[in-house]
Each structure stands twice: as structure tokens, then as C-alpha cells.
Symmetry: D2
Subunit: 355 residues, 4 copies
């Protein structure tokens, strides 16, 4: 299916639940796409999402959608357990595929999807929406450019009174955001080497409603994630500590969403640290300015949709491709294993992935 670069790409959205309407809205406002279908097993729900004024066609017939030659791409916003099936059908029909996070219900299923998409030369993109926010893009630049120095720690808190999910625990529900962001901003060559997870289900929901993840990175740095469905207050704060500067991203503060602190603790070179009494003199504190850079106000999904189009047109994998989705799945599975084992650190098998 060849695409001329200035013709809108025919697209169908599959899934009219929580996230689907956002995709519908963004595909409709994108000049890159022509939205043809909204498909959901519950066609009434699809109709309701489209409203009474839309020319987009609702349907519950996925085969019909996939048979539409004008459709070159699909976007899947169904429950994770169905991703493998729906996405495999779409790939088999020669469609490019965008999937909601997480990529699939298991790492193994994710591997299948990535392999199939690569075999067919089709784009497989994971909708790690946060990676397309102006703030995360800027954080990535600040980390990759060396401006923060060496990454020393990352601490992310994502808590509020959240919907207790039917099929997944709070780690699988919320931590994919933090893990995909971590994956996106980590400098080349830095990897997650082990995962410890703690959690609890104090309301008898049948799955962890509060979770803590501790990730050891290959550099000795640490990343920690706190996710929680039971907090009466909403917190969305990530601190990214560097040897030169430290970033504080408070997503609930529109005016100071990102703060770059030139504050920190400096220690002299390790070889000078033998003498404890002397070392004490070698610790110094910087108390510099804070800069809150101006950030564009742009909806992340609109950027994501544009990147999906660009990937399709150029054949180049997007930054949050299937492999990025796989890396997140691998950590989630290790987290679940650790949770079952009472918090024991689970090492990630560095060559266990697809190659």
C-alpha cells in the first residue's frame, strides 16, 4: 500500500471506551489522516462517541474495517488482553498499527507483535502518550544533551483516587506511563538491570491498589515509582536528579510544569575520599537559580498522531515503537514477579529479548 506524501492516510479506530474518543478527536483534527471507521464490539457505544453529527462510520465488524482498502492504518484502544488478536489481524491485513499502552498483555505476546510487524515491514507504534508532551520532550533533551550531567536518580509519583481496574493491578495500570517515560529519556547505553516491587491491596479488590517499584540502572542510579489508586489527592511529580542539575516535573502545575534546579551537592573525586575527616571538607552545596523554561502548550496526542503519520510515510520506526513497548512490558513482568516474591529484586535478562 503505497502512500503519496500529501494524501491523508485512511485510518480506523478500534475501541470506543475510555481512550478511543481521544484518538477519534485527534485523528479528526489531523490533516495527515482521514478517519473512516470507529469500531467497537458495542456499536451503540461507538455511535455515542461519534455523536449525532459525524460522517465517520460506526461498526462492530472488524473484518469489514480491515477489508476497507482506503484504510491503511488502525489505532487500537481495546483492553490489553485483546491487543494481540486485534493487532495481528490488522497486520495480517497489511495495516500499520498503533496500540494503546501496554503493548500487549504479556511480554511474549508483545514479542509476537513486534516480530510480525517487522516481518511485514509495517509500522507498529505504541501510544506512550506522555513521551509526546512538550515537557517530556524537553526533559529528554536536557538528559541526552548532558545538561543535567550524569543521571543520578529518578523518583516518580503518580497517585490519585483512581478507577480500580477489573483486569490489571495498579502497577500495570499506571506504571506504564512512568516506565515508558523512563525508557524515552534514558541516555543511550543506560539500562534497567533489576526490579523490586512492593504492593498492597488493603480494600480487598483482588489486586494491588498501591505499588512501589525500585529499578536499579546499569550505572548504579536508581529509579523509583509510586503508583496508587487510593490517594485522595492527585500527585504527578517526577524528580530527575543529575550531577549538574536536577529537574522537577510537576504535571499539575501549568505555570511551573518543569523546573530546572542548579542546586546540588558536590563531592570531590573519589580518590581523595579515603580520609573521612578530610572528605567532610570536600562536600559542598550549590544553591543556584531555578529556571522554569517556557514550554509550548500542545496536546500530546496531536503530536503522537503526527509522528504516527510520519512513521508511516517514511517507513522509519517512531521513538515509541513496538520495541519500546516491549522494554516496558519486560519491566512490568519482572515487577509482577517481584511482587509475588515479596519484593525480591528480579534481574532483567539482558539478552532474553527479541533480537
Amino acid at each position: 500500500m503505497s502512500l503519496t506524501s500529501d494524501e491523508p492516510i485512511g485510518v480506523a479506530v478500534v475501541g470506543a471506551g475510555y481512550w478511543g474518543p481521544n484518538l477519534v478527536r485527534n485523528f479528526q483534527s489531523s490533516p495527515d489522516f482521514r478517519l473512516a471507521w470507529l469500531c467497537d464490539l458495542d456499536v451503540a457505544r461507538a455511535k455515542k462517541v461519534l455523536g449525532g453529527y459525524s460522517t465517520v462510520q460506526p461498526t462492530d465488524d472488524l473484518a469489514l474495517v480491515l477489508a476497507d482498502e482506503n484504510v491503511a492504518a488502525v489505532a487500537i484502544a481495546t483492553p490489553a488482553g485483546t491487543h494481540l488478536d486485534v493487532a495481528m489481524q490488522a497486520l495480517a491485513a497489511g495495516k500499520h498499527v498503533l496500540v494503546e499502552k501496554p503493548l500487549a498483555a504479556t511480554y511474549a505476546e508483545g514479542v509476537e507483535l513486534v516480530a510480525e510487524a517487522e516481518r511485514r515491514g509495517l509500522i507498529l507504534m505504541c501510544d506512550h502518550t506522555f513521551c509526546y508532551t512538550p515537557v517530556v520532550t524537553r526533559i529528554r533533551e536536557l538528559v541526552h544533551s548532558g545538561e543535567i550531567g550524569d543521571l543520578q536518580f529518578l523518583d516518580s509519583v503518580r497517585i490519585n483516587l483512581g478507577l480500580v481496574q477489573r483486569d490489571i493491578d495498579v502497577l500495570w495500570d499506571l506504571a506504564p506511563h512512568d516506565l515508558s517515560i523512563l525508557d524515552f529519556i534514558l541516555p543511550a547505553g543506560v539500562e534497567v538491570v533489576s526490579v523490586s516491587a512492593h504492593g498492597t491491596d488493603p480494600i480487598g479488590a483482588g489486586r494491588a491498589c498501591i505499588g512501589y517499584l525500585t529499578l536499579q540502572l546499569s550505572t548504579g542510579a536508581i529509579a523509583h515509582v509510586h503508583v496508587n489508586w487510593l490517594s485522595p489527592i492527585k500527585v504527578r511529580t517526577t524528580i530527575i536528579g543529575g550531577s549538574k542539575r536536577t529537574l522537577v516535573w510537576d504535571d499539575l502545575s501549568p505555570t511551573t510544569r518543569l523546573a530546572i534546579y542548579d542546586r546540588g551537592v558536590d563531592v570531590a573525586a573519589p580518590e581523595e575520599l579515603g580520609d573521612e575527616a578530610r572528605r567532610n571538607l570536600l562536600v559542598s552545596y550549590r544553591s543556584g537559580d531555578m529556571v522554569a523554561p517556557a514550554l509550548l502548550e500542545r496536546e500530546a496526542l496531536s503530536t503522537m498522531v503526527a509522528q504516527y503519520a510520519a512513521a508511516i510515510r517514511t517507513g522509519t520506526p517512531p521513538l515509541t515503537d513496538g520495541r519500546a513497548g516491549l522494554r516496558v512490558l519486560r519491566i512490568l513482568e519482572a515487577a509482577s514477579a517481584s511482587l509475588r516474591a515479596g519484593g525480591v529484586a528480579v534481574r532483567l535478562d539482558t539478552d532474553g529479548g527479541i533480537s
Copy 2:
């Protein structure tokens, strides 16, 4: 040494470093005490703390202080490693003893102190200052009275750009605050059963500068503590989740220091939870009001000092007595063991303590 109830108690402060001046100021303004001495190995430092207008006597001679018959009580604000020695001398001289947190450098040393004080019938009090703040007092009432329902989780964050300590890591420096508060508010019969600790030293300071503690409670609830010397921003927030209400204590918000949320997730009785489809209907969300109770503005140290006097006069152990200090030490030692073992959960030996 008998004390008539309306005569000020002669007191000496030992240690004129970071915390000593606060003790000096509060003993001076207390009608319960008559401050006689400020003792420090560095007598110039003691003189500087007292300033040029004080009638309190500076000295570097602890024996002289302890020989003073007008001194019935001492307050020790020296480094933790010296607590055993200084406090044992004071007890031997028949003085009541107040010690800065942590009670001692090790659990074993703490046991010695508690045993000696009990043997001699002297008060041994731990200055867990936060327990004497109006806000923590109120939290204790809300937990103990059952107003929040069952305690489901506690999450405490205590981070800022902190002084890297010479002799202790961040867990021993900051977590005693959170652990003493937890000890203070836990309902009777609820105990910490195991501790997992993660930490990192990304600046080469020779000790953990960032730490995470996960405590399993005997009820299945979880407590989590994040302490960090490297954060450019200061956070002092504790969330205490209950089955009926959830408390948010933000110590940096003078106007809403304590918020009581009538918000939460309700699940029907566990026996009804077998059928997954049905269970889903049994989860409901409350979105009620938030109440920020009016709290007295009173300096915690002043209350603590008054409680020290009351304990001395009545012979009744204060709420934060030596045994409370011991319970904190036991958790800290388990945390250090877990940290060395890569985060493995370390069980607390419930009968391993002093009896």
C-alpha cells in the same frame, strides 16, 4: 532526688551543635525548668550559643555538671555515637535523661540505656519532636479513635537538599522522624513485621543519600518512607489512608497542614467477591468533603519540654520513652540489614527485644 511539684527542675543541656540551641531556648522559656549549664566539648561553641547576655554557665566538664546537686535532669544533643556513654554517666549520677533521636547508635546500646534507666527508676525520654506537634497529636487521635477506620497505608516523603552527614546515612538521619511518628500513631496491637530498604549513593558520599523503606504491618497494611538528601525541592508530606477517611499532612502548608478527606473506594464484603463480574459492581467511590481542622500553633519542643517535666514529676514514662526509641532503632537496624542485602525483606523478631 525528690522534687516538689512547683519548683523548677534544674536541667543541663549537653551538646551545643545543631539541635542544642533549640533545647536551650525552650528550657529557658519553660516555667518547669531552671537551665543551669550548657556543656560541650568545645566550650567556645557553648559560649557562642549562649551569647553575651546569658546567666547560664557554659562548660566542657560533664563531670562538673553531673556533680551539681541542683541539676536533676539532663538533655543530650550530642552525636548518636556518644549517647550511650553520656547518658549512662548521667543515669549513674541519678539524673533523668532526655536524648535526641536516635536513642543510641545501635539497638543493643539502646537496650542498655533502657535497662539502666528502669533499674534506677529514672525517666529516659527520647526527643521525638514531631510527636509533640499539634498536627501529629491530632493524627494520633483520628487514628486511635477509629475516625479514619482501619489503617490501610501510610506514605511519607521527607526530602530536600540536606546536609550529607558524616557518620550516618540518610535512613538513620531522616527516617527516625517518620518511624517515630508511625510508632506514635499506630493503633494498639498493630506492629511492623518486616522491613525492606533500597538506597543509593550517587554522589560517592560513602553512604546512602537516597533511601526508600517499605514496612509490612501485622494487619497487611503497608508503610512506605522516602528520604532523600539530594532533592532540590523540599517535600514533607504524609498520607495516612484509612477505610473511612484519609489524612494528608503537608507540613509545608501552614494553612492546610492537615486535610481529612472523606473520599475513598468502598468494596463490598469479601465473601461476595468470588464472582468477578459481580464484584465489579460492588466497587463504589465516595467523593465527599475535605475538612482542614484548625490546629493550635505551638512549638513542638515547648510541648516536649513540658512533657519531660510532667514525666519527671509524676514518675510516669512519657509517650516517647526509651522503649519507643528502641522500637525505632529496631526498624532502623533491620533497614540497614535489608539495604546491605539488596532490598530483601527483613523480618522483625517480635520477641527479640527487651522484656
Copy 3:
């Protein structure tokens, strides 16, 4: 044009600029209305607002819209200077009319509109959107029910880096929000008796970019409004002081949008105040709890649209009818007069209005 109560009301939106798209979206999602037309002098702009998937018809021909027998109501979101002309045409065609704030460019024009609508028995509604927010509805209840006691003062700040308008100053741009809210919540019988306005144009924009309004109320209470296009920070805070309780509405705080403070100053009865020394003893301070009530999250425009439908169906004027719009215009005109006169208090002619 009779309407059966369960049939959607045919509606047309006039004006596809800043606010029109919000009306389009809300009429589309309302079961009460059937949106037929989006009319703008610039038909390309209307088409762009509708996007490529809508069945709503764009047009630049107002006569065509008004001739449509299926259209019973219009919503006008054009510049204030055109309100008289467009609304008079619509009323002449027998259509109910909703107008964006301010009702008209002048008080005299507003009087014409109100008279014409009343003569024809048609609904004339002013889109004072904020009055339909859950928070303002709640504030009105708290004031009208007497829960806050006597209204003592109102202080409203509405500042941010705002678009310098071409045709109106900052008072006419932003203060209508505050004035319509004030009008909405004032208890029956309490009136604005005079207006003082101060302003400045420090950037040479040709109109005031910063404005301050002081309104004297008939009870001796005061209302003050600060509007500002040049503030780098956004503030949207209104304090409503009562003799029993004081409300703080911070529209930028989703979690504590409304706080009800049981704090205040009590003074004994005035007859006891003769003796100054004694009076001093009669002032007392209450420092009670703060309650942040749970508020529904509902888009105000959706409620406004529903109220428009209800008014049309029942023939009962909505709370923000044309006369409410007139009261706001009268204050704005007095404010402009005061501004020109250097801040002199301009009295409102209580019988100068339409009767």
C-alpha cells in the same frame, strides 16, 4: 413556534471565533438541541471549526439561517458591537436568543434588546457561563441560605497574560465575568450603588490593560475587582467575606476550588462600643475549621445549554436573562465613566433602567 417538550430544539450558532466552537461542541452533545447551522461572515472559518466530519452546515448567510423554520433558537458569539444588529434580526424572525457576554456594546442597546424580546415573548439569555459552574452555584446557595451570614466584602482577582483586545479595554473584557457572578450571588435586595474605577495602559495599547473596580453595595459592603492583561501569572481567586463564614474560591485549584472558612472576627453589638477601652475586649477571633466541599465536575457550558433549553420550553426567563445582562452593562458603563473621571465614584441611577 410551538415546541413539544421531547423534541430537540433546532439551533444555529452565529460566530465561529474564540467562543463559537465551545457552543458548537456543547449544542452537539446536548440531547435538547439539534444544531443545524454555524454561521460566520468568514465561511472558511466556520468550515474549519466544524472540521471535515460534521453534518452541521456552515454558512455566511444569516438571512438563510433565520429563514430556516427548523431553527427555533440562535446563539450569538460575535463581537459585542454586532450583538444589537444580529440579535434584533433573530428576534424579528421569531427566534429565541442566547448572547455572549456582554449583552450588548452599550446599556442603551441592551435595553432595546430586552424590550424587544419581552415584547415578542421570546427568551433572551445572556451566556454568563461562570454562573453555571458547580462552584458558583454552590456559592450562591451558601450566600442565599444565610450560611455565610451577612455579606461583608467580595474581592475578585482575574489576571493573566491576556490577549489585548482590539475593541474593548480590560474592564469590558474580563470584569463581566466578575460582575455577572456578583449579580448572580447577591442576596435579594442588595444592590450596587456606586462604582469607582482605576486603570492604566502602560504599554500604549490605546486602552486600559489593568483595571481596578470598587463597588459600594447598598448594605455598606464593598466589592473589589482586579483585572489585568499583563500579569505573567494567572490568578482566579475570589474571596467572599461573611459575618459567619468566609468563602475562598480558587478556580485554579481543582482539589480545593471552594474553601469555606469558619474563621473571623467577632465584635459585640455596636451600642456597647462607646468605651474604647472596653470595646477592645469585645473583639474576638474565631479560628475554626475549613471545609472544602465536594463539587461535581461538570462543564458549565453544558449546564448553560440545558438551562437555555428549559427556558425555551417553559417560557420562564433563565437566571441570567437579558435583565441580568443589563445590570452588568450598567455597572460597566459607570466604570468607564469613573475611569474617564480619574476614579470618582459614579452612582448608579437606581430607576434609570428599563422598567
Copy 4:
């Protein structure tokens, strides 16, 4: 009375009420002074302030204090109505004088004091404490250096549940802070030309409890001050708008006390503004970074005390000398006149002052 530069200056504090204890504490910790006396009509109150450990002498005998040859300076923290009498006695005795704000109860009294001090060659300093905070010092630098460009507006809010004063209204109680800060930061040559004041006394306290000041500056810029004793929330925010940058000083935010915004509205040169349609194109918006500079944490009173010593030793008037106090008094009196006249703008007689 000649002073060698390295000998502490003998000082006496007069007034042991609300502010006196802060002066006592700061003079005691200053190496520049030797505090000899604390004088209050109520000697018991003076004793209580000194506490049971001080070598400073309490007294109720001002003559005794002024007769003390070792006392070269006094600091007066008595009610404003007594400033003239106490300060004149002190000056007559050859003492340097520091007075709490406001300088005196009336402008005329202030003029007497300034004249007397100048005649005698003694330092007369006004304790405009806020001018000695690190943040106001920095703001002054940013304004005076031209870094913010032309001063366009200043908006200051100083509200909370405050003590209703017995002898003065809220303008005289709180606005001296804002007016002394304004006086301190205004660039050379910029003057306040008129004052409008609005206020209300909704609780029957016998004096305005809520006040609004609007000051016209000689450049066309505007300054506005809101002071309020009846607000349940505390706000201490000043916005200082400049043509290049705008400063936001939030005194209750320890981490972002001062924010420098590179945001604003630019308009092309006035001569190009004739054509309205064209002008519209000439307005542009800057949305740049925000910088929160690192500020020292230093108690303002300690800096003020050091400046008092420097002024005494060098004979050079301090920045907040008696004439600065006079300028504040002149505005306060104009404000009272405006308040009585219903808010009419009262012009300041530019040559009516002392010369």
C-alpha cells in the same frame, strides 16, 4: 559622643510589646551593639521579654536610660502616637534613634523629628524591615539596574486574619510595609503623584478593616495595594510589572519567593499606532522562561541592625532614614483624606515636604 569603629555601640530598646522582643533578640546577637536596657512603662512586661537568664536591665524609667552615658543609640518600638515624644527626648539626650514604622503618628510630627535629628547631626532611622530582606534588596537591584525595563505597574496584596488595632485602621497598620517597599524600589525621579483610597468597616470596629490604595506615579504607571484584616487566608504577593520583565514576589513561597518572568506584551512604537487595523499586528506576546534566583536566607532585622550600626559609625543616613519615613507618612495621610472623601484622588503636594 564619638565612637571608635570596633567597639560595640551601647543601645537601649524602648517598648516591650509586639515588636520589641525581635529588636532585643537581634541587638543581642549583633556584634555591633551592646544592649544595656529594655525600657517599658510596664516593667513586668519588660522582665518577661528578657526572661529569667538575661543580664540586660529592665526598667520603666526612660530618663534613667537616656542618662546612661554608655548608651549611644535607642530603638523605639512603642505605639506610633508616642514616637514624637520618646524620640524627641532621645535626640535631646544626644542619642541616635531607630523608630518602628510608621515614623510618627502624623506627617507634621515626622517633620519635627527629621528636622531635630538633622539639626543635631544624629541618625534617625525608620525600621522599614522588609527593605532589608534579601528579596526586596534583589527587587531593588532588578528595578534600578533597568533589568525589568520601565516600571509599568505594581500590585501588592497583604491580607490575612489580622489583629484589629485599637488606634489605627488597616491602611496605617499594614500599608506602611507596601509603601516603604515601593519607596525603596522606585527608580530615582519617579514619584507618587496622587492617592485614592477605598475602605470599609463591615464588622463595626470603628475603623476600616479592608483597604485599597491606588497610587498614580509620575510616569503614568500605577501602584495598587490591597490590605485586609478579615481574610481567612494569608496572601503576601507583589507583582512588579516592567516593560522587559515582570517580577512576582510571593513571600509565602520559600522556594520561589521571587520569580522573574520573561513574559509580556510588546507593542510597537506609539507613532506607528495611529492605524487601528495595523496596530493590531504590532502587538506581540513573549512567552519566555521564568527564573527564580537563589536568595540568601538571612533575617531582615539582623541586616537592619547592621545598617543602623553602619549609619551611626559613618554618619551617613541609611536607605530607610527619617525622610523615607516621611514619604510614607505623606502617602498615608493622603490616603486617609481620600478615604474620608469617598475615594477621590488626592494629589501629593510635591514641595509641601521638609526641604
